[in-house]
Amino acid sequence: MSRQNEEKIPCEGGRRFPWSLEDVLKGKEIWLCASCFTCVDRCPRGVDFTYISIALRNLAAREGNIPDATRAVASTVLETGLAYKIPASRLKMREKQGLPPLPSVNAEQVKTLLEAVGLGEILAKKPEG
């Protein structure tokens, strides 16, 4: 299939074939995969597409293509060790409900691990243009 193909087929994402690898890595489509693994269960050839989708998202992330919400959550993990900053009101509610206090996370330790794989650098990279 060549880029010059006159006969273009719209796909579900509203884009047109053929895509270049650049289109894939710059687009939003790969981030619409919820990792539900239905395609892995369905595929008669055992392609395990969800894992390929995760790999593509990892590559896109290295090019700065990360949805804002995903970037925000990943940054919170890097900073605090947890995906969300738990508001004081929620901690109060725990107490009121008779729940034990939330265990504290050694955030420095988590950061050491995540920095070893360059998560901070990946998150700092903004998309071109």
Binding site: C36, F37, D41, I66, A74, L99, P103, T112, L119
Partner: protein, 291 residues
């Protein structure tokens, strides 16, 4: 007596406290001893798309802490369960990867050797407590109540890895619901994803999945939807008003954690099960389940 480290993850303390309240309450009744897991971090799922290596290290740190504590893990969340389980398998199958992970963990004084098992509360209810003992504990059968189930993807898929239930025709949660006396109705596409992981990427698309589900549940005649995952619950309960706004339809379908449903059937008061913390009010359900 079953004894587990309770791995809470992030979404439960952030938005789904009612799940924790009800899970701890029924655990007490069922002789499941829950020890709070110290120093846990995010399971890794939310960063998997950004860096699988980072997700793997987050999961591995949790597994290594559990090893140090010398106890198996119980999660309440499908996503946390799947991520920890996947990570353990990945490291078991790939000795080089495991060696690399342990090199990293050594920097913070931890080690993964693969000693610890990870279970979801559904596994614990089935395997450690058992259906027979659960039946014995039901003192307030909910036989006026009609519900639908949503098991959630990450407990069942991919089937070849999770080896649990049938993702296209889930049975396990139906069996657990049957024990409570409630009737569980079938509806099309029970295995469809809640859309939780893409809510932040495309809210319209994610809420569209919620609308799909709630329509089918309503058409099947269910008075409530039952979940076993905080993210699925967050989508169907907390975000139900947003889904209603998007579609212009009113659903008003209460969404209960299975632990709440079971608790009601065990005669535990709604207050002790965090029922009042649900966003979609469950007054009608309580009316029908009064002992």
């Amino acid at each position: 007596m079953a004894r587990y480290l309770l791995y809470l993850g992030c979404l439960i303390p952030y938005r789904e406290i009612s799940y924790e309240v009800s899970a701890r309450r029924i655990a007490r009744e069922l002789d499941i001893e829950l020890v709070d897991m110290p120093d846990f971090n995010c399971c890794g799922f939310p960063v998997d798309g950004v860096s699988h290596e980072a997700a793997l290290l987050l999961a591995a740190r949790n597994l290594a802490i559990a090893e140090r504590e010398g106890m198996d893990i119980m999660t309440l969340c499908n996503g946390c369960f799947a991520t920890l389980h996947h990570a353990a398998l990945e490291m078991e199958e790939d000795p080089e990867l495991r060696a690399w992970v342990n090199e990293q963990l050594a920097k913070v004084g931890l080690e993964f050797t693969g000693k610890v098992h990870v279970k979801h509360i559904v596994h614990v209810l089935l395997e450690d407590v058992g259906l027979e003992k659960l039946k014995e504990k039901v003192t307030n059968p909910l036989d006026k109540l009609v519900v639908a189930e949503h098991t959630g993807c990450h407990l069942m898929r991919p089937a070849k890895v999770m080896k649990f239930d049938d993702p296209d025709n889930p049975r396990v949660l139906k069996e657990l619901i049957a024990i409570t006396g409630a009737k569980c109705v079938d509806y099309p596409d029970e295995g469809q994803c809640c859309g939780g992981p893409i809510l932040g990427v495309d809210a319209k698309m994610a809420l569209g999945l919620v609308v799909d589900k709630l329509r089918r549940v309503r058409e099947a005649g269910a008075q409530a939807l039952i979940t076993v995952c905080p993210d699925c619950h967050f989508m169907y309960d907390f975000n139900q008003p947003l889904a209603e706004r998007q579609t212009g339809e009113k659903f008003g379908i209460p969404v209960l954690h299975y632990t709440q449903l079971l608790g009601l059937a065990m005669g535990i008061s709604p207050d002790e099960l965090g029922i009042g913390m649900l966003r979609v009010k469950a007054d009608k359900v309580l009316e029908l389940t009064k002992g």
